[in-house]
């Protein structure tokens, strides 16, 4: 583009709104180069793919539980009475051109969205990027994770196939298990006792396509605005200080690379959507409360919740023949509440107890530089990971034949023991690394020995040089 033709639109905006300064700020915004900084970008781009594919799907999906007898093209479902929600999902998969591609891409994008957010969170926690002044943005990030889990669950609950129904039954029981308000709350939300009335499906739909995405988009925008205001954090390095940022400016190279990342994320998702089957709802069949299937697994990001529900022993607290705390409360409410409470409290915990450092930090830490925080975080995440693994104990039985009950007892023990071991080991590794500093394989770590006149060897002072050593050897 010649300089002249580019001038007109910039001038147009500048003369009316005065955007040229802002544009200049954007163009010279500096991105420190580190691969781990791309995780958040991947999440952002997965979200864009979700909005694009989701908009397409919304054109064809009908959030209606009214039933009709199926006469479509799937022979396995012929003559069954199924809901419009399920029928429209089948129709958009079978008959809308590119419909299945969009649906599968949407589902893969949701899985990637949450995976990227989770890895991004790990990066933030282990490098101390949540510290002042980024604590405020960290809270937004944790909120985004919670909302994204809800959004994902709402999404795969919509099609009214057998798996969505089973998931919703559990969600209803978890809602019922809330202290004090559980019964009325769940009944109100579902418009009656589970499976509820058609109003629930439309509430779920509005939550999934409007309320939650709108909140997510707003929070993402605020998240980015705060980053730009504070500038990126950076790892220590040559010329990098607390009060500067060293890296590639947005224009021109970084903008292109980042757009390239967007295209790459979209490409991978579209290829997966086209080539790898996900959630074939026609195989599950329609949901009825009296139907269930074995080996059902939720989307991966709910694995830790199903694991918690499965690990919990059959405790239910009651007084005088009335329930106080139903069992799903422990795995479905208490466990995620504790995990998220820990996440939200992390900046404060770190300031008060872990690093005991209230100062402002724009330079990141390597995990080894803060052994206590790294070890604690690793222990907490390992506990969550074990619960997550316990959620697939039934698959382990199917795949490898490990007895289910034994596996559950194993995981209950592991949940108590492994985090302690992880804490000790991680802390030790960090301390060793911090002491070693240099790469032990590359730095000098040998010892000088000298041969004395009698033919024996004796170690020489670490400070002395070889020539000194030979002198030393010669004098004896």
């Amino acid at each position: 583009m010649s300089r002249r033709s580019a001038r007109d639109p910039v001038e147009f905006v500048e003369e009316r709104l005065g955007g040229a300064r802002g544009l200049r700020f954007l163009m010279s915004y500096v991105f420190p180069d580190h691969w781990s900084f791309l995780l958040g970008e991947v999440a952002l781009y997965a979200f864009v793919v979700l909005i694009a594919t989701g908009t397409f799907l919304a054109l064809f999906f009908s959030p209606d539980l009214g039933t009709a007898v199926y006469h479509g093209s799937d022979p396995a479902l012929q003559g069954q009475s199924i809901s419009s929600a399920y029928a429209s999902t089948l129709k958009l998969s079978y008959h809308v051109s590119g419909g299945l591609l969009m649906r599968q891409t949407h589902h893969w994008a949701a899985l990637l969205f949450l995976a990227a957010i989770t890895l991004h969170l790990l990066r933030i926690v282990f490098t101390g990027a949540f510290r002042k002044p980024r604590d405020i943005n960290y809270f937004i990030g944790v909120t985004l994770l919670a909302l994204a889990i809800l959004e994902g669950f709402a999404g795969y609950s919509l099609p009214d196939d057998l798996l969505s129904g089973m998931g919703l039954a559990i969600a209803w029981a978890v809602a019922m298990s809330l202290p004090l308000i559980g019964g009325p709350f769940a009944t109100a939300l579902w418009g009656g006792r589970f499976p509820g009335t058609s109003v629930f499906e439309s509430r779920l739909y509005i939550a999934h396509v409007f309320v939650l995405p709108a909140i997510l988009a707003t929070l993402i925008a605020v998240h980015l605005a705060i980053i730009m205001r504070q500038r990126h954090s950076q790892f220590p390095g040559p010329g990098r200080r607390e009060d500067n940022v060293v890296g590639t400016p947005m224009w021109p190279a970084y903008a292109l690379r980042s757009l390239g990342l967007f295209a790459a994320v979209a490409a991978v998702l579209v290829l997966m959507g086209g080539l790898i089957q996900i959630n074939p709802v026609w195989l599950w069949g329609p949901y009825h409360p009296y139907l269930g299937t074995n080996g059902a697994q939720p989307d991966w990001y709910l694995g830790w919740l199903i694991g918690a529900l499965r690990l919990m022993p059959n405790l239910e607290i009651s007084v005088f023949g009335h329930t106080l705390v139903p069992n799903p409360f422990f795995g479905g409410v208490l466990f995620p509440t504790v995990v998220f409470a820990l996440l939200y409290a992390l900046p404060w915990l770190d300031r008060r107890f872990i690093s005991r450092d209230p100062a402002r930090h724009d330079l990141l830490q390597s995990p080894r530089e803060n052994p206590r925080r790294t070890a604690l975080a690793a222990a907490v995440f390992s506990a969550v990971a074990i619960v997550f693994a316990a959620g697939s104990a039934d698959r382990m039985f199917f795949q490898f034949g490990f007895g289910y009950e034994g596996a559950i007892w194993f995981f209950r023990g592991a949940f108590l023991a492994i985090p302690v071991a992880v804490f000790v080991i991680t802390r030790r590794i960090c301390l060793e690394l911090a002491v070693e500093r240099e790469h032990p394989l590359r730095g000098w770590s040998g010892r000088i020995v000298a041969r004395d006149a009698s033919g024996g060897f004796a170690p020489v002072d670490a400070g002395s040089t070889i020539s000194e050593a030979s002198d030393h050897g010669g004098s004896t």
């Binding site: 500096v30 298990s177 019964g183 589970f194 500067n244 409360p289 070693e436």
Partner: protein, 328 residues
């Protein structure tokens, strides 16, 4: 020895870490180092490759369009669109990394924290109440007004739900109600064999209701361990339990029925596929394993003169998951 082991572990970790990172980050040098630099110009192959990549994109897009109209096959569509995006990604990243001037820049970071501005804001804010004597009272009244409004706006939430009690405690089961299968045909006692697992519903009731579905299994009457009050509930050894798990409302769709002596060590059990709560069939639906906190409600059965199964009373307890304050 232990410390050697640690060293070995550390070396291993470091080695893996170092192998992943091609270059070691240079040690922080003096503070004044200015890493700014700018390299422009690129080798000739970059522009040629870029041209090739960019030229392939429209082809891939055209393939997508043609496929979409002629043969919207999911795999081919995904390949065509995915290829176009992958080419674009390659082109953008190549251009960003090799074609365009590569710059490292240093930008000053604005560090906020202007104490004086804070003081000024507070001063100005407090100035608003100058000359007001009943500050506390007014504030309290304003708070009450706000709370009242919030409550008033929240009241319509009540419209969401019908009363909970009748919703959660209505039951279609009573003595004499016939059991029917999914198609609505009455179930004959003779049709329930040992090892079979049959879902039944109350005749004429809504099958989607959580109270409706029960499972029928049959065992050797001599093996039953039920209490005396449930003595007559299982005519011919046929037992009926609610099909809705007392843990979290999934349908109990697995039946562990030991058919050969080698698996006889444990008795028949109903198993929920959601979190594998396991209910003892012989012992009044007692929880044998898994998270469910209450036994599975049992439906007393009777067999009428025609040999059809009928309920002999209501279910023995509330169906499905518990909630705060429910009667167990």
């Amino acid at each position: 020895m232990a410390s050697r082991l640690w060293k070995a572990l550390v070396v291993l970790v470091l080695w893996a870490w170092g192998a992943l990172r091609p270059r070691r980050r240079a040690r922080a040098r003096r503070r004044e180092v200015d890493p700014s630099r700018r390299d422009a110009g690129s080798p000739a192959w970059v522009e040629r490759t870029l041209l090739g990549l960019l030229a392939a994109i429209p082809l891939s897009c055209a393939a997508f369009a043609v496929l979409y109209i002629l043969d919207p096959n999911t795999q081919l569509l995904g390949l065509a669109l995915g290829a176009a995006l992958a080419l674009l990604a390659a082109a953008l990243i190549l251009a960003g990394k090799r074609l365009l001037p590569q710059e490292t820049k240093v930008e000053e970071r604005p560090i906020p924290g202007d104490r004086q501005a804070v003081d000024e804001v507070l001063e100005q804010a407090h100035a608003a109440t100058d000359g007001i004597t009943r500050r506390g009272l007014l504030l309290g009244a304003a708070g009450a007004a706000g709370a009242g409004l919030t409550a008033a706006v929240a009241v319509p939430v009540v419209a969401l739900g019908p009363g909970i009690e009748d919703q959660l405690s209505r039951t279609p089961w009573h003595a004499g109600r016939a059991l029917v299968d999914e198609q609505g045909a009455p179930l004959a006692a003779a049709a329930i064999r040992e090892g079979s697992f049959v879902t039944a519903f109350p005749e004429g009731a809504d099958k989607e209701n959580l109270d409706a579905p029960v499972v029928l299994v049959r065992v050797d009457p001599a093996s039953l361990r039920a209490s005396s009050e449930r003595a007559g509930w299982a005519p011919m050894g046929i037992l009926a339990y609610s099909k809705i798990c007392t843990h979290a409302a999934c349908a109990i769709s697995l039946y562990r029925a030991p058919l050969s002596p080698s698996t006889q060590s444990r008795g028949p059990a109903l198993v929920c596929p959601c979190h594998y709560s396991t209910f003892d069939v012989l012992d009044s639906g007692r929880v044998e394993f898994g998270p469910a906190g209450r036994p599975l409600p049992q439906l007393p059965l009777s067999i009428d003169a025609q040999g059809t199964l009928r309920a002999a009373g209501p279910l023995s307890g509330p169906v499905g998951p518990s909630w705060w304050g429910d009667a167990r």
